[in-house]
Symmetry: C2
């Protein structure tokens, strides 16, 4: 009922917009009464109001669905459907545009504000540049002509609803991606890191190449559109960013198997980063070579890929680590508001720093989120923990719904779109094949080295959860300069809408059909006992799964990192035991003392305060000893002296793995 | 130490900006390597990074000061000082601007995105309009000239740091003002409503006229600047918005007398709204009359003032009430995230709706905040209560510090400023006189009708806490079109800086000197007993104050409203007892039943769940019976039958006041 009344209200608002627009038209006939400045402001406000109204409507409908346990449409799908409806209304009720004069709205930022009234500048120098391209802009001079009496005709509403795509990249996406990193279920993520990296890096690149290749083939057959090889690969990169937000929300509701969840989630998060960097690399390649194969350009774009990825990773981690450092060594904890503000500003600063350094902010903010969750979170006061979690949860919810709403509206209002059925159909074909190549061969390869095999029904589910969402859309509309790019944008729009609605809606039946176990107890923070039992169940339970085992080479690297993390990073950056004094060799004692706070020393060993964060951490004792990394401890068992294993007092159970370089120096600590 | 190391980091960032700018210059010599598009993006990112760095620095210094209990500088003052320092660095290390060609950066929003590359539009129609004015824009046609080879010279950094003032009005200010309304200590506010309205509406208008008058006088003596009468009154309106954020923060820390707090707070919040609407009205007057007195224009501007104020009040309240209604009648409570999102969207929608309806969004959002706190807050789930409070607290903190930081930077980087010592000094004189007229005569008048007199030391403190802040600044820089406005902007900047630093720094000594009692126990939610004792203490305590008593006419109106609120609004819009079934006359029973939820019926009478919100509410029983409104009950005692007073079962103690029109119908309810 509430939703219905809300719908009525909303239609009223929409009518109001239309009426106000009619008013404006009438006002323009009598220009002394109204001004295009105020009417512009009014239309902007009404547009925002309309979007706010749609979001409110979505919220109420979502509530109604949740209330009635109706699971076939997820909130993002719903936002999109409402967006589609309103977009259609705007499009088909809009008055035909006055094509006699192109509408150009220029916002002049000038030193001399008195320009605003009388003395207009005698010439404007306008640089026209392609967005997101490093080609030189064309600079044109415009000379002042005669004053024009007639006011500039108002643009149709459909164009005022078109946002600057940069707002996605600078405001919405950082929020969504940071939240992904910050809320990541780290244990499962790190346990399946090998598989996730494989799917995200190798799989996405393969998918990009396959999609690009297929489309290059099919576009040769279509004579009415022209796509260069580079365009095809660019599209391959853009469309390879999967975003199974709908699927994951349902996985979360239904408590699907944690490993499946971790792999699908991890892949989708990392693969956004990979797709963004890939598309930039393809652009670099495109600028250097002109449609003919060019080895140098290829290497440069591969170099760019690696450079951007590493740079963004470094900056993101650095900001996360600095925050951990600041929160550990200042008593900012006493003022949770300041602490939260610091946390928020540092996280956003990582994005801007990466952008300023010409890496990718999105990738930086992802790794910053992971680092913040892994280290800083442990130092925060209880209030800040709660506040940061809730703040980002809300921001993420709003940003996500806004993006999907906007995707819906865009279908009808985004202007430079070219629709070509053949291209859209072949791109559908291409993404299915691309996804196939991504999942099945890689799963086969991974299963060779895993004792915890990725079973066929999991593989099918992963194939199914390759839907496309916000990132693909944002990448596609970022650059709609050429006709080929406009085709890409429309194909991406269709793919996003169809996959979100279809795959989102059929997740529950698909899970049943594939006989994937749901209702697996998620190990909630603090439920250590339950956790252990779940893990045992998982090990020898109905699925017959063995604990995850990645190839030995990767396990060795991961183990090295775990060790370093436990012995140096965690003691250095968090307020938890063990301290550096305990973990570092004796020779480093003076340094260790500097970086150990009093709070850390008085902290109980594994006391009740630890639980909340430690269950979230990868160096969780129960996990390491019972399930998770036992594969690795088996692998490296030979290199560990039993003496060492029992001699240590702290619950650093991970030390049953290899200690690598620390092993030799470490022994003196255990008398 | 941390703050020092942070400072070092910050200087490094600043140097990095300078270096990058040098790089950019070098790049421009070799244009094939770099592009102005990417370098522009980079400079933007670096600017944002610099501001983020300053905010971080402020946070750390604030922490250090709080940690060391150093109270002379408030965080906003600190932000401003840091802003000043960085502004000075930017200004005096900037390379002199290339004056041979005016820098105009135009952002073209066009339907046809292919404009970006080759086919530039043959003509641009640019409307130059004065911001915030309803005069017709001048439209100029610019014709496409020859392509220009040389890239447009990068603007000096000082201009990239200049933000669009609209961002204050559309993002920062709504947050600050909403938080003010939402966090308002309502009981004390409503108890002193008469005095607050007097100071805010009458006082601010008087101050505006006095300041305008004085400046009109002094500017006649200065022959090098020209100010019209209208300019003077516009400045009077702009500069009359007080913003004692520094003082209030200290009042809060020191637990100053609650009535003093309420009056200073209430005045400053409402007076921002009054000043905004006043300045708009003066503009309307200015457009209609041209410097000669014009009665019709005067009436129109008074009409505009009343219309805008009422309209904004209505829209703000309406959105607040709708939210209360939605949260009461849907079970949105079960999903706190949805609830918080709804709350947030409705609040922001009130701003945009008022803007769309051409009222003032700021005023709407203030009253929306008050309504949300008064009604909606009671319906929210515990989690949402917490989340909304913390969310707005954080947003407010960031917005406030950002604004003050920006005020500091603006002194050196805001470009169209005219500095005139005489004008600045006379404006200082004028605001002191204006504040004097606002406080002392009005306090004398108010004291005639109050039994709880506003004592001379309180008056002096109020005089002292008339500092100017964000709103005055934002109003002043919104329109810097004419030379007179540029003088106003610089004078406002100086006034803001001097008053925030001086008055902010001397609040503690001033409180001591004026012998104003500090350490008064704030009545925290749920501490009913303490509350009662404080109130008793206040009544006959050391201050010798009697409970607040406003003139009987106002008391009658306020009492009417209290009654209506208790009998209709609260039962209708919140989930608390009493229900409408209990408060409405029998004839309305069917309607009452519709608007009573099950939850409301099962709610205990004055049970523990009520406490949290009811202590915040004006209809708090203890308050009404012991202190607060007892003046009013004395006034109307004669009209109340003792029978009625004892016959009622619910703890509606306010009924010892007049029930007015409800009295007759009400009796049947008490058998």
């Amino acid at each position: 009922m509430a939703a219905l009344s809300m719908l009525a209200c909303f239609v009223a608002v929409l009518l109001c917009i239309r009426t106000s627009r009619t008013d404006t038209k009438e006002d323009e006939i009598n220009p002394s009464q109204s001004t295009s400045a105020t009417s512009q402001h009014r239309t902007d406000s009404l547009t925002i109001l309309m979007l706010l109204g749609l979001l409110l409507l979505t919220i109420l409908t979502v509530w109604l669905f949740k209330h009635r346990r109706f699971r076939f449409v997820h909130e993002t799908g719903l936002s999109m459907i409402y967006g589609l409806i309103v977009g259609a209304i705007i499009r088909y009720t809009s008055k035909p545009m006055d094509v006699s004069r192109d509408y150009v709205r220029a916002k002049i930022i000038s030193e001399n504000h008195s320009y605003y009234t009388d003395n207009a500048p005698t010439a404007l120098y306008v640089s026209f540049f392609a967005r997101n391209s490093s080609a030189d802009p064309t600079i044109r001079q415009y000379d002042l002509g005669a004053p024009v009496d007639e006011p500039i005709t108002e643009p149709p509403l459909e164009r005022t609803v078109t946002f600057d795509p940069e707002i996605f990249f600078n405001v919405m996406l950082p929020v969504i991606i940071f939240e992904a990193g910050y809320s990541m279920k780290r244990r499962h993520f790190f346990r399946n890191l090998g598989a996730i990296l494989m799917y995200a890096v190798v799989g996405t690149t393969a998918s990009c190449l396959v999609v690009g290749g297929i489309l290059y083939g099919t576009t040769r057959l279509m004579h009415d559109i022209t796509f260069s090889l580079n365009d095809c690969f660019y599209f391959g990169a853009v469309i390879s960013a999967t975003d199974p937000v709908t699927v994951l929300a349902l996985f979360n509701d239904l408590h699907v198997d944690v490993d499946l969840y971790a792999i699908v989630f991890g892949e989708s998060v990392l693969n956004d980063a990979v797709a963004i960097v890939l598309s930039e690399s393809v652009e670099v390649y495109g600028e250097l070579s002109s449609d003919s194969f060019n080895t140098e350009a290829l290497f440069q774009s591969v170099g760019k890929f690696l450079g951007v990825f590493t740079g963004a990773f470094a900056i993101g981690s650095l900001f996360g680590l600095s925050t951990a450092f600041l929160t550990k060594f200042t008593k900012l904890k006493d003022f949770p508001l300041l602490e939260t503000a610091l946390f928020f500003l540092m996280s956003y600063a990582s994005f801007q720093a990466a952008e300023a350094a010409e890496f990718t902010g999105i990738v930086a903010v992802l790794f910053c989120g992971v680092t913040q969750a892994h280290y800083t979170y442990n130092n925060l006061s209880a209030e800040s923990k709660d506040r940061t979690k809730k703040l980002f949860e809300l921001a993420n919810f709003l940003a996500e719904n806004f993006v999907f709403l906007y995707i819906g509206v865009s279908v009808f209002t985004l202007q430079p779109l070219q629709w070509h059925l053949g291209f859209i159909l072949s791109s559908f074909l291409a993404i299915v094949v691309g996804r196939f190549i991504n999942i099945y061969p890689l799963s086969f390869l991974l299963n060779l080295g895993r004792s915890n095999k990725i079973r066929p029904n999991f593989q099918h589910m992963m194939m199914f959860s390759g839907l496309r969402g916000a990132v693909a859309f944002a990448l596609a509309i970022r650059n709609t300069e050429t006709e080929a790019h406009q085709h890409m944008a429309s194909a991406t729009l269709m793919i996003v809408i169809v996959t979100v609605i279809l795959c989102g809606g059929f997740t529950t039946p698909m899970l049943q059909w594939l006989q994937i176990r749901v209702g697996v107890e998620e190990d909630a923070p603090g439920q250590m006992n339950q956790l252990a039992s779940v893990r045992n169940q998982q090990g020898g339970g109905e699925n017959g799964q063995q604990p995850g085992s990645t190839p030995s080479e990767k396990a060795w690297l991961v183990a090295k990192w775990y060790n370093f993390d436990t012995i140096v990073m965690k003691p250095l950056l968090t307020n938890h035991r063990p301290t550096l004094i305990e973990t570092l060799p004796k020779c480093c004692l003076p340094i260790a003392k500097i970086f150990t706070t009093e709070e850390q020393l008085t902290q109980g060993l594994g006391g009740p305060t630890d639980h909340d964060s430690d269950t979230d951490m990868i160096i969780d004792e129960n996990q390491l000893s019972i399930g998770g990394m036992s594969d690795h401890s088996q692998l490296d068992q030979a290199s560990v002296s039993p003496n060492h294993q029992t001699g240590r007092k702290e619950p650093l159970q991970f030390d049953d793995g290899d200690l690598g370089q620390f092993e030799a120096d470490d022994k003196p600590l255990t008398p």
